[in-house]
Symmetry: C2
């Protein structure tokens, strides 16, 4: 036994005694073991709010644990591709990731309800469902099949419905519109007669410029303004319906999580909740600033889809979601719980937030 080992063992023994003296079962002091985790994300390097939020989270975990658990963060493409997060964490090649559950729809259909579904709940409703409904329990059940432990860890708020180079006055106006729109929203648009184009973020601007697409959705004013869409042409900018409160996820490899002492588990869980509330606040604050800037550009007109267009999109969304819910028993169970929770919550929202907004805005 060399000196270093000796010192380590001595420390552990001493600490263990201390724990028994003060009567705690502190696994923290008792082990002294250090954990080095790696996190992969689905976001570009330095991407505002999402990547910077994941990095703030990692820093917080380091602070909380006095350096006993450190997390090295890798942006999309640095260690694995942006859409390789799920597999990398599931297989255990890294311990954790930050991403969005609906990216994994192809591998895990039920995952989609844990991000956002068209005409679903807003950010607050999602949190209510996760923390005091069955949302997080169901998410854990769904992900346990993939050796993953999920935590809600951020929310974009209501995403904008998109940029269009013509006004949408009726459902007929969607016919033939070439639009970049991923996810369930894209499926709905296709049902409405749109030509859905799948494009990575980096190709949207030039595709608009070259007329490859007529319309696109992205996130909200803060990120949309950085993409520069408003510079291409005059656009009509519409409030959203397809992602009313997209939850971001912090996912951990189950074996790695289970191997941690309880105080380090608590550090991850608590820091995820902090990220969850703060990332939404950052989105809201930055979107408010971004909107003011966009308006100054004079290149956008903010409109609303007419009520009958929204009714039709809602009907097509309900059809699409019902089809997805039939794909497997877990999806059916998640959808049923989501819808029941939403229904009860809506009645309260109607006389609280909605009543207040009706008067104030």
């Amino acid at each position: 036994m060399n000196r270093r080992d000796l010192l380590k063992k001595g420390a552990v023994a001493g600490a263990a005694v201390a724990a028994s003296v003060v009567g705690t079962s502190s696994s923290a002091v008792a082990s002294g073991k250090k954990y080095r985790w790696r996190m992969v994300t689905a976001w570009p390097p330095a991407f505002p709010i999402l990547q910077t939020g994941a990095e703030r989270f990692a820093k917080r975990v380091g602070e909380l644990t006095g350096g006993r658990l450190t997390i090295q963060v890798y942006a999309g493409g640095e260690l694995v591709p942006p859409l390789g997060v799920f597999d990398a964490v599931s297989s255990g090649s890294v311990q954790c990731g930050h991403s969005a559950a609906y990216y994994w729809a192809g591998k895990c259909n039920a995952a989609q309800w844990f991000t956002s579904i068209p005409f679903g709940m807003d950010a607050q409703g999602m949190n209510d469902w996760f923390y005091f409904g069955n949302g997080l329990k169901l998410w854990e059940e769904v992900y346990s099949n993939f050796n993953l432990v999920p935590r809600p860890a951020g929310n974009t708020g209501v995403q904008m419905g998109g940029w269009f180079n013509k006004k949408i006055n009726s459902m007929a106006d969607f016919k033939g519109v070439k639009m970049r729109m991923p996810g369930i929203g894209g499926k709905v648009l296709a049902k409405a007669g749109g030509a859905v184009v799948l494009l990575p973020g980096g190709e949207i601007y030039t595709s608009l410029e070259r007329g490859v697409i007529d319309a696109t959705e992205w996130v909200g004013p803060c990120h949309d303004i950085r993409m520069g869409f408003y510079k291409v042409a005059k656009y009509y900018y519409y409030p959203g319906w397809h992602e009313p409160g997209s939850t971001l996820e912090f996912i951990m490899n189950k074996k790695a999580y289970d191997a941690l002492p309880s105080d380090l588990k608590a550090a991850l869980d608590t820091a995820a909740a902090e990220l969850n509330v703060q990332m939404l606040s950052e989105f809201e604050t930055e979107n408010a600033k971004g909107l003011a800037e966009l308006r100054k550009s004079g290149k956008i007109e903010i409109l609303r889809f007419p009520d009958d267009v929204m009714e039709n999109l809602k009907k097509l969304s309900a059809e699409t979601i019902a089809e997805l819910a039939e794909k497997d028993p877990l999806s059916k169970k998640v959808n049923a719980d989501f819808m029941a929770f939403k229904k009860q919550l809506s009645e309260w929202n109607r006389i609280s937030e909605k009543a207040y907004y009706d008067f104030m805005l």
Copy 2:
């Protein structure tokens, strides 16, 4: 030195060596010192969501710190009276408390903006202001004069506007109404001709029963139903305007906080953020359930104040808040920042949450 001291010192020395071996500056492991804090709250024992939330927070801090920081929680009246929280923490007779800043209006006028003001921001807006505007910085500045460090730590959501034994069809209907309504809302009601009665929670029910008051506000369906107001008579239940998103506070004695190693500070800060997001979710979820129950009772009718009543209440509120803002330079500074932030955020809310709610509810 007795055996216990010896064991403790040995443990600390061993742990300090361990820290140097693994190359961290972990004040956690390095000190091994235990902190026992006491928390006093403004809530009755076992009071749902508020007191139970404070207790969950204390438990979480214990888990996060492996028992190195423990917090013993005392409900209102157990150690100090419910409204003695501020003084007890400010003086250092206890280390921390859970309460609401507007309770301290008499000692600290500027505190009121950090809970909620009539026609102010909702819960999400308050969080945005705290975390990514100047809200928390200003709150720290205001409270530093009282040797206090504040953290947002929960939110009630939009509070209901109250129970009335007659319909409010015009401002004239407020004249002579004897109503239990504290805070700025009460001041506004008095301006409208109401007879404001100050009553502790425990006396509201019998005061309604005996006709001492005609109307009351409390919190929201979840708590209102427990108070049993609906059993007294048929009531008209109105959505709120006076507290659109009341933030609860976790306050710490500044000396006690400053004396902690950085990882324990991080534990308190992070656990407060977790409580902040989760308490609001619990309020929303339980209010939705409470509303469904209240409706089943058949004893309430949910109405809305007519638009001109709301306009008048808003005008009287603006007058009242402007008067309060003139009381001292700090209040003026806080009010100006609050209003500017709210204005920019409102524009975004209008095309995001509001636009979505307009269609959905």
